[in-house]
């Protein structure tokens, strides 16, 4: 069933048009940077953007930082909201269930396919960003090989690779949190749009509360609180505090909402 779901996802035209759209934004940023040569001053604007002007190979990370806070979660929310409610609305859910596909297995397959979708998106974004970055922004000359970390010290290629891998994993986990919320709403909502909008509402509310001083007591528990903590992976030494909290928080979100989605779906009357 997992393979079937991934196949469905990869064959859907919408998957690829969404990826294309998500991919377009960082590419546009790269073009603008190359044309104007106007990077944000260090410490302002999206992470890494000030660094990419000197080194295009860093652009995949900058692209990730551009895409992660808004574009990617929107895509995940819509796809996750669609997962169960979309099949139900289409009438295909009942035919899957009487094939039979177990309800738990269906839910797991949907989650795995969602995460594959995120992975494909991130990879496409990273690869295009690398190509675009090197082509448009140029590579640092070999003499000064090694990349400057956010803290100013030098990182070896190997270290950079490992840290980038960790960053991708962290981003995946954050998106899994969104996917869990979306899946849960998709099992209680009749319409896929409602489920997607509900998920987005949660994310927007969370982002909003993060800017509100009065909500300070809530802030450590908001789902979007530590999303950008992956930047800390590129400090020297790595600043683990927020990353650890972020991982813990996302794991709790995933567990709670997936559990709720499962409990609800198992006892749900499939009437559509």
């Amino acid at each position: 069933m997992i393979r079937v779901e991934i196949g469905k996802m990869l064959r859907s035209r919408r998957t690829w048009s969404t990826i294309l759209l998500i991919d377009a934004l960082p590419t546009l940023v790269a073009v603008l940077l190359a044309l104007t040569d106007l990077g944000p001053r260090p410490g302002t604007g999206p992470a890494f953007l000030s660094a990419v002007l000197t080194d295009g190979t860093l652009f995949p990370l900058a692209a990730l930082a551009i895409v992660l806070p808004l574009f990617l979660p929107i895509a995940v929310a819509i796809t996750a909201g669609e997962a169960i409610a979309g099949e139900a609305q289409q009438g295909t859910l009942r035919y899957l269930l009487i094939r039979p596909v177990g309800r738990t297995r269906l839910l797991v397959a949907k989650l795995v396919s969602l995460m594959c979708n995120v992975l494909v998106t991130i990879l496409v974004v990273a690869i295009t960003a690398y190509v675009v970055g090197v082509l448009l922004l140029g590579q640092q000359d070999v003499a000064t090989a090694g990349v400057t970390s956010v803290s100013g010290s030098q990182l070896s290629d190997q270290e950079l690779l490992m840290r980038t891998g960790l960053a991708l994993a962290y981003a995946m986990l954050c998106m899994m949190g969104v996917a869990a919320i979306g899946l849960f709403l998709s099992t209680i909502n009749e319409s896929p749009l409602g489920a997607a909008l509900g998920t987005l509402a949660v994310l927007i509310a969370s982002t909003l509360l993060l800017t509100l001083e009065a909500a300070e007591a809530l802030q450590p528990y908001l789902p979007t609180r530590y999303w950008l903590a992956f930047v800390d992976l590129f400090r020297d030494p790595i600043l683990w505090r927020d990353l650890q909290r972020g991982v813990l928080l996302q794991v709790v979100y995933v567990a709670v909402f997936l559990g709720a989605a499962w409990a609800n779906f198992m006892t749900k009357d499939v009437k559509d």
Binding site: G7, Q90, I98, R99, P100, V101
Partner: protein, 300 residues
Amino acid sequence: MIRTHGLTKRFGRITAVDDVSLEVLEGDVYGFLGANGSGKTTTVRMVLGLVLATSGSVEVLGQAMPAGWRKVLPQVGGMVEGPAAYPHLSGRANLALFDASGPGGGRVSRAGRVDDVLEKVGLGDVDNRPTRAYSLGMRQRLGLANALLRAPRLLVLDEPTNGLDPQGIRDIRKLLLELHAAGTTIFLSSHLLAEIDQMCTRVGVLDRGRLVLQERLDVLHRPTGRVLVHTTDPAGVRALLDGAVEHQDGDRLLVRVPDVAELNGLLVRAGIPVLELTPERHTLEDVVLAASSSKSQEDR
């Protein structure tokens, strides 16, 4: 094959299915009749484990549902409340997808299975256009093809001829009778009396969530004890059988007699020309309406 006991489903304060005890035997073509909104579809959904009963039990192929779905459902083909398919994929791709989703469908034999069921439902020469471009009849056939993928022992079909033209209805009926002859038990829900009348061996009638009748079709069609006499001399018949004539419509008379052969002899001996002599039988329509109305009278 299907046995429910005191099956009840409430949605909030509405009781959709009320204390229904069905019994579908192996080899039946079971006609499940009921007006729209009488609870047929909800019952079908409970049988297939899609909707969970408020109380009562369901047993399919000897196993409790929904607990035994893993064993039961692979042997059951179903169509519930109209067919459904992924609109952007072709019919063939849809079937391959549904086939791959469940257990028991090897990848090697998949294309053959899909072709096979498409052929059976008359979609053998279908092209690669997406199902969103299908007519209602084609969708219906595709839904049936999907139900047949695993060569099921039991077919549960909800309104299978909905949206089909007369030729299509005849094709599907023929297919179902062939499957039945090959040993498939068929549970067919419909609001069309004629459809049930032509195909089924047993009938269950649902009226506002209650099973008001469950009987073999040939028992329902038993003689009424009256005989239709079509004659050119109605007055002569009246004179001969005074009192036994219960109804007259021109030169057709309904006569209550215990023995048709005796009546025949009597008429011939009296020299009355007889154009037609037929024992009257209960029609499904009469029986169903009577069952539904008598129950609703009890309610009052």
